[in-house]
């Protein structure tokens, strides 16, 4: 009886099933070649009379003849459960549910059994495929190299350094013509060289020359390299030529000031790719909980990094401390790591501009950033 409606109708007549099952076990020779259905029915009867071991045998025969029978799998689960073999029971119930997601009983049994520890089933070893062999060798080599503690501190081993602006976008320009894009690129290079000398942190640049990259491409590069931190380097500017000092931005749920909110709103207006997240009622999406947890955690870490960097700037650079600011930057929101944006000095201020021209001052900035990373 392959027809599932027929089978369900039949299932409603459990009494019938037991009767037929016991009839079959009494007179097995009455029957021509037994079908999967016959064996399953026999199994059902044996379960009813608590002969679980025999039931297992009959049901395995049923499954052998018809591996798509969710009914037989469900019964097999019950038989194993009767024997106290929880792991096997769960395995059988899972197969039943996979074959028929509407099998309430099997689902419920999985839920009930797996509330508590279930012993593990032995796994069959099988030969490794070529990629698996390669992977195994790679893993052995790596595990000898990487020593990790169980510490929950956020780890930074690879960073992406983003030199702001570039190409047709010069960024801000100083009173004597110094361009933000040139200073940021030089700082990025210097920082990378320094980090490579120290050797602990791997770094990647979003651009290595004078060309324009859209903001979206820059965060993509951070994802490309699976970076642990994204540092975007900028030089500030203001209509007021007296404005000076350094400040650090990061992404957060709430803007720290009206000005920060305005900056974020401007950035956000460009991108309209994702539909806003719609809350599904009556459903718990665990991956969504994890996603949100991850996001908030990166924002918190970004804030922590921003404060650390700003503190280093305050103590190491002759620049006024303009503090840490945050806002909801949409582009940074989906970055898979903490990200901060440094505004080091005002190119529009002639004192700051003069400093920024000097290689020695640039090295000082690099010093401060490196200290912020350690």
């Amino acid at each position: 009886m392959k027809n599932s409606t027929d089978r369900r109708l039949f299932l409603n007549w459990i009494g019938w099933g037991i009767l037929a099952g016991s009839a079959l076990s009494f007179f097995p020779s009455l029957v021509w070649a037994k079908t999967a259905f016959d064996y399953a029915l026999e199994g059902q009867g044996l379960i009813a009379s608590k002969e679980y071991r025999k039931a297992c045998k009959a049901l395995q025969k049923a499954i052998h003849l018809d591996p798509t029978s969710d009914w037989a799998y469900g019964l097999l689960g019950r038989a194993y459960y009767g024997l106290g073999e929880k792991a096997k029971a769960v395995e059988a119930f899972r197969k039943a549910v996979r074959l028929n997601p509407a099998d309430t009983y099997s689902r419920m049994m999985i839920e009930i059994i797996t509330q508590k520890p279930v012993p593990r089933l032995e796994k069959k070893e099988r030969p490794l495929a070529p990629l698996e062999q390669e992977a195994k060798a790679e893993e052995e080599a790596m595990l000898n190299r990487v020593r990790s503690t169980g510490s929950l501190t956020y780890q930074v081993n690879r960073i992406v350094i983003d030199a702001g602006h570039g190409g047709f976008d010069p960024g801000a320009v100083g009173p004597t013509g110094l361009k933000e894009k040139d200073v940021t690129l030089d700082l990025a290079w210097r920082l990378q060289r320094r980090l490579s000398d120290i050797g602990k942190i791997k770094s990647f640049l979003t651009r290595t020359q004078d060309y324009y990259i859209p903001l979206s491409d820059r965060t993509v590069i951070a994802n490309q390299h699976q970076a642990d931190l994204f540092i975007s380097i900028h030089i500030n500017a203001n209509n007021n030529p007296k404005a000076h000092g350094s400040e650090t931005y990061y992404c957060s749920e709430k803007a720290s000031s009206k000005e920060a909110a305005r900056v974020a709103a401007f950035e956000n207006s460009v991108l309209k790719y994702d539909k806003p997240f719609k809350k599904k009622l009556g459903y718990i999406d665990i991956e969504e909980i994890l996603f949100r947890f991850e996001q908030r955690m990166y924002w918190n870490e970004s804030g922590r990094f921003a404060r650390t960097f700003q503190k280093r700037f305050r103590t190491a650079l002759p620049l006024k401390d303009r503090g840490v600011h945050s806002a909801n930057f949409f582009v940074l929101r989906r970055a898979k790591m903490p990200s901060i944006l440094l505004e080091i000095g005002f190119i529009s201020n002639s004192d700051d501009e003069a400093r920024l021209k000097r290689g020695k001052f640039r090295e000082k900035i690099v010093d401060a950033v490196v200290k912020g990373l350690s």
């Binding site: 992977a135 718990i284 665990i286 955690m297």
Partner: protein, 285 residues
């Protein structure tokens, strides 16, 4: 995740569920069946009613309390959910299901430390608990501690190899350590279990891209777009790939090829500022 797989559901026939305690237990079992049935049908309010009645008759029924916990969580009543799971743990500390949900609710509250402790408690009780290993590994992934993430996610994978999310997160951890063979293998296993897992396809794209196999990377990201034309990651990855190719062509003074790639960029992302600008500048030449 086994859990999520159980959290969505439908109905169908109910069979008998034997219990040694007769009259009283029969009522409770009946209520539980009906509760589960309503729950699977999506009728949360009626399900809650059944399970509440069940715990009124049998206050120590762990399954009913756990179900109430899930149902309250689904209704957004997280405080009540928390109390139900807490109750189960008071009845029996070995109930790892309730412990797991307590951990998840702590994660929801952003409480990393408490969540982490709960998951660790579970693996101490049950060294085969794939779900707890999954969360522990995932937390280490979030802390960008790939070596530890690998350690736990491998245990999750070995305890239950059928979860695409486990393979995907394991792939991410390997990828973060530049262990590309392992990353590729786990991305592939993710896709064997769930062929439209676009994040895994995008990850494979980056492995190829960073190996200099740009054409293969582009193919992967286009696969993603065939599944979801609005996949933000694939759009931006392709945009970056084409812009890079254009920039390389320009440096080699092959303007015709550069123009070709900028056009490709715009075909995928019409607002890309770089391609718009450079195309305008070089198209006429």
């Amino acid at each position: 995740m086994i859990l999520r797989f159980l959290a969505t559901v439908t109905l169908i026939p109910l069979l008998c569920f034997a219990s040694p305690k007769f009259a009283k237990a029969l009522d409770v079992n009946d209520l539980i069946f009906r509760g589960a049935d309503y729950h699977y049908k999506g009728d949360l309010d009626h399900a809650i009613k059944q399970f509440r009645e069940a715990v009124r008759i049998e206050p120590e029924n762990e399954y009913a309390h756990n179900q109430l916990g899930i149902l309250y969580a689904k209704k957004g009543r997280f405080k009540e959910a928390f109390l139900e799971f807490q109750k189960v743990v008071e009845i029996d500390h070995q109930n790892t299901y309730a412990l797991l949900w307590l951990g998840i609710l702590y994660l929801r509250e952003n409480d990393l430390k408490r969540a982490f402790d709960k998951f660790q408690e579970i693996v101490r009780i049950d060294p085969n608990n794939a779900d707890a290993y999954y969360f522990l590994g995932t937390i280490y992934n979030f802390r960008h501690n790939p070596a530890k993430a690998i350690e736990y996610l491998k245990k999750a994978r070995d305890a239950d190899s059928d979860e695409p999310d486990t393979h995907y997160r394991l792939a991410r951890a390997f990828h973060n350590l530049d262990m590309t063979s392992n990353a590729l293998l786990e991305y592939q296993k993710t896709l064997e279990l769930k062929p439209n897992y676009t994040k895994a396809i995008n990850g494979i794209g980056w492995i190829y891209y960073n190996q200099g196999r740009i054409d293969m990377a582009i193919k992967e990201w286009k696969k993603t777009l065939a599944i979801n034309p609005r996949d933000r990651d694939a759009i931006f990855n392709l945009t970056k790939a084409y812009n890079d190719l254009a920039w390389k062509a320009l440096r080699e003074k092959d303007i015709k090829r550069a123009v070709f790639y900028w056009k490709e960029t715009l075909a995928i992302n019409p607002k890309n500022k770089a391609a718009l600008y450079y195309l305008k500048r070089y198209k006429s030449r």
